[in-house]
């Protein structure tokens, strides 16, 4: 009988069904509802923007894998698609297309491939791309238009985002609009409801750890609440804090990015709390109206230390 053609591999010999590809593509699927809502509110231009960022992300990934002489089939592991979609979700819907392409290129090239590809990047690629665009095109990055009436509409009135309105003019957007997404802002900033739904699906599938969104949103709520209690005239209430801006998207899709968040449960809680504190500091005392992006990028940079310092207590460990 055949003794020669037997595979010798180390144990185990069976594996959980889910590999990187499965996780990534199902995450993509969970992003579809907020994307559709974004297109409904901001028109086909928003769809075009998404197509551009996703295509550029895939192309960049392919180019760099080719340059680095790596297996190019990794292009389709879904991670570049996620980066593309997330970037589109956090850009103003009318952002210039070629500028969006530059941002998407930067996100993949400098946010991911330069570090050695998926798994080795320190910063969340989509957020890094967004931060780059913020510095490269500060005007275009901060001009938002209100939702349109018809899907083909081209009305280009600018409208302040709820956070900008709050910070500079102390105008509060109604909660119901924040929840449904009928406000100015980027696609992913608007519909808190659909993002929560997608996030709950990810938690159910265990693609993300519930500790991260909970500690992040919880910290923003509590700390925001403390300031609100100190001076309700000057500071917005905690519910506004968690519904407005990109906090929901950040809490379910950005801070939960496996590669750039800590590995251990305890480390994740510390990470979420740290990012939450940064959000409040930036929103209330910083120059920018929104702090989600920088809060996560800042915590990205301390993530390696968290992972090094927090080591789980072993079974049967005798600590002196």
């Amino acid at each position: 009988m055949s003794g020669n053609s037997l595979y010798i591999t180390p144990s185990p010999h069976i594996f959980a069904r889910e590999d990187i590809r499965g996780i990534m593509w199902r995450t993509v699927a969970s992003l579809v509802p907020p994307l559709v809502a974004g297109i409904y509110f901001f028109g086909l231009r928003a769809l075009l923007l998404t197509v551009v960022t996703v295509a550029t992300a895939l192309l960049t990934e392919y180019l760099f894998l080719l340059l680095r002489k790596k297996d190019t089939s990794a292009v389709f592991d879904g991670s570049a698609v996620i980066t593309g979609i997330l970037l589109a979700l956090i850009l103003p819907p009318r952002f210039p297309l070629y500028a969006a392409a530059i941002g998407s290129f930067f996100a993949i090239a400098f946010g991911k491939q330069i570090f050695g590809g998926l798994g080795n990047n320190i910063f969340n690629p989509a957020l890094l791309g967004r931060a780059f665009l913020m510095a490269a095109f500060p005007v275009e990055s901060t001009v938002y238009s209100p939702p349109i009436r018809s899907i083909f509409g081209l009305d280009v009135i600018t409208q302040a985002t709820p956070l900008t309105a709050m910070k500079f003019s102390h105008i509060k957007t109604p909660y119901i609009n924040l929840l449904i997404g009928n406000t100015g802002g980027s696609m992913g900033e608007t519909s808190a409801l659909l993002i929560i739904l997608g996030g709950l699906y990810l938690i159910y599938k265990k693609y993300i750890d519930w500790r991260l969104p909970l500690s992040y949103i919880g910290t923003v709520f509590l700390l925001g609440g403390v300031f609100w209690l100190i001076n309700p005239q000057k500071y917005p209430d905690p519910l506004f804090h968690i519904l407005a801006g990109g906090l929901m998207l950040g809490a379910f899709y950005m801070i939960t990015d496996m590669v750039t968040s800590p590995v251990t449960p305890k480390g994740r809680v510390i990470y979420g709390i740290g990012a939450g504190i940064f959000v409040i500091i930036i929103r209330l005392f910083g120059g920018y109206p929104e702090g989600v992006m920088f809060s996560i990028l800042l915590m990205n940079s301390v993530r390696p230390w968290i992972d090094r310092l927090i080591v789980p207590k072993r079974f049967g460990e005798v600590r002196k």
Binding site: P12, H13, P262, P265, V311, F315, G316, E317
Partner: protein
């Protein structure tokens, strides 16, 4: 209430053979008895080429404290003492090769002791030692050593392990259904030998028939109870089992006896019964032949030393070409390079997988999803340890606990990047042993 531990994974059961009753197969044309079938020093051969042996004749004598006797599984002539492929070492090791005469004549030393229930603890341990019994769950640790704990570490709890958490394997399940009384009697003898006060028979809740059979069998033994465990891998791992049932943590680097517990596999328990009552050495065992390749998968009572090749021949051969042959279960079993390897005392199953069943993992970079951390039943930090080991930082890996790894494979199983984490830990353990020897 179901007992369970923290961590672990949920592999598919794939217990295809749980409805196949244990079937005895005959005597193969050749038996291969490796001198090393257990943890510890190999046995010293007592016979040479041409010697006549009988069923149960002692052919190898234990050497040193941790070692075990070996016996001839049938009558016949010793063909030679030579090196033969070994299924655990994955290289050729000395073995006694016997050509059976087909008579299967019993060795005259094997006589029933009608008064076996009154055997003293010392007698029980002595007969177990003589019979060459080792842990039959897979680890193959000499049982008489486990039955002789030092005075300062008294054992109060005996756990008979029928969890059988490895997918595919059903040998213990069948044994519990068919030989419940013998298992319980063996357990009673073990309890007597170590002076334990209570006993658990731990079974995962996906084996209701076995639970029922065992519950019936322990009815007359007030100190015993059947503990129904949650079906989760590795529920049958010694330290996890003890914690699930007693909430005692075996200290890092320690043994179950440090927390007053003793764990024995159901098969071992039955072997103890046979050794004490009939003075029958461990020369056969129930093993599961399974996977997509064998024509007739099932649970077979196999003589120790039967080659996998012969086992297949005697059960009707293959229905499909196997691409992977595993001794043991799919989680911890060892892939073989040849089907010439013999069944050992610790061989709980033989898994022959077809191309359709086998996933050849392609390793990618860690995406730090943290699933390995959640899955590790020892609460270790697999991804960080693997990272350190890749960079040859063994000392640091030791500091965060690589030596505590029980090699259950849960981390590798869940890893979406298919990183062979356990393999790294085995490698680091070997390197650390070398370093310790040098120092």
């Amino acid at each position: 209430m179901r007992f369970t531990f923290k961590g672990g994974v949920h592999p598919p059961y794939r217990k295809y053979t749980s409805e196949n009753p244990i079937k005895e197969i005959g005597i193969p044309e050749e038996v291969i008895i490796p001198l090393s079938q257990h943890t510890g020093a190999p046995a010293k051969p007592l016979v040479d080429r041409g010697a006549t042996v009988y069923r149960g004749t002692k052919i190898g004598e234990l050497q040193g404290f941790i070692s075990a006797n070996i016996h001839s599984p049938t009558s016949g002539k010793v063909k030679r003492v030579f090196e033969w492929p070994h299924p655990v070492a994955l290289k050729s090791l000395p073995a006694i090769i016997i050509e059976p005469d087909g008579e299967d004549t019993l060795d005259e030393s094997i006589k029933e002791d009608a008064d076996y229930l009154n055997a003293s603890p010392q007698e029980i341990v002595e007969r177990v030692k003589e019979a060459g019994i080792v842990g039959m769950g897979g680890a193959a640790f000499p049982t008489h050593v486990k039955l002789s704990p030092p005075k300062e570490k008294p054992i109060d709890t005996l756990i008979i392990n029928g969890a059988e958490c490895e997918p595919y394997l059903t040998a213990d399940d069948r044994l519990m259904r068919e030989q419940a009384d013998e298992i319980v009697q063996g357990a009673y003898l073990i309890m007597k030998a170590v002076g334990a006060k209570r006993g658990f028979i731990a079974i995962e809740d996906n084996k209701p028939e076995a639970i029922e059979a065992m519950e019936k069998a322990v009815r007359d033994y007030p100190d015993f109870r059947v503990a129904v465990m949650k079906t989760k891998y590795p529920e049958g791992a010694e330290k996890q089992l003890i914690w699930a049932l007693t909430r005692r943590q075996v200290p890092s680097g320690g043994l179950p006896m440090d927390v007053g517990a003793l764990v024995q596999n159901v098969g071992t328990s039955r072997a103890v019964y046979h050794a004490v009552r009939y003075r029958m050495p461990l020369i056969e065992r129930v093993t599961t032949l399974t996977g997509g390749a064998p024509a007739n998968p099932g649970n077979y009572l196999v003589r120790i030393g039967t080659k996998v090749e012969d086992l297949l021949k005697m059960t009707g051969g293959l229905s499909e070409e196997p691409v992977k042959a595993i001794m043991g279960g799919p989680m911890m079993g060892i892939a073989q390079y040849t089907l010439d390897v013999p069944v050992l005392k610790g061989t709980s199953g033989i898994l022959l997988m077809t191309a359709k069943e086998v996933e050849l993992p392609r390793e990618r970079d860690c995406i730090r999803c943290g699933r390995c951390v959640e899955a590790c039943p020892m609460f270790l930090y697999p991804t960080r340890m693997a990272h350190l080991i890749k960079n040859k930082r063994f000392e640091e890996a030791r500091e965060i606990g690589v030596l505590d790894c029980i090699e259950c494979g849960s981390c590798s199983y869940v890893c979406p990047a298919r990183i062979p984490l356990v393999q790294y830990f085995k490698y680091a353990k070997a390197e650390l042993r070398l370093l310790a020897q040098k120092a």
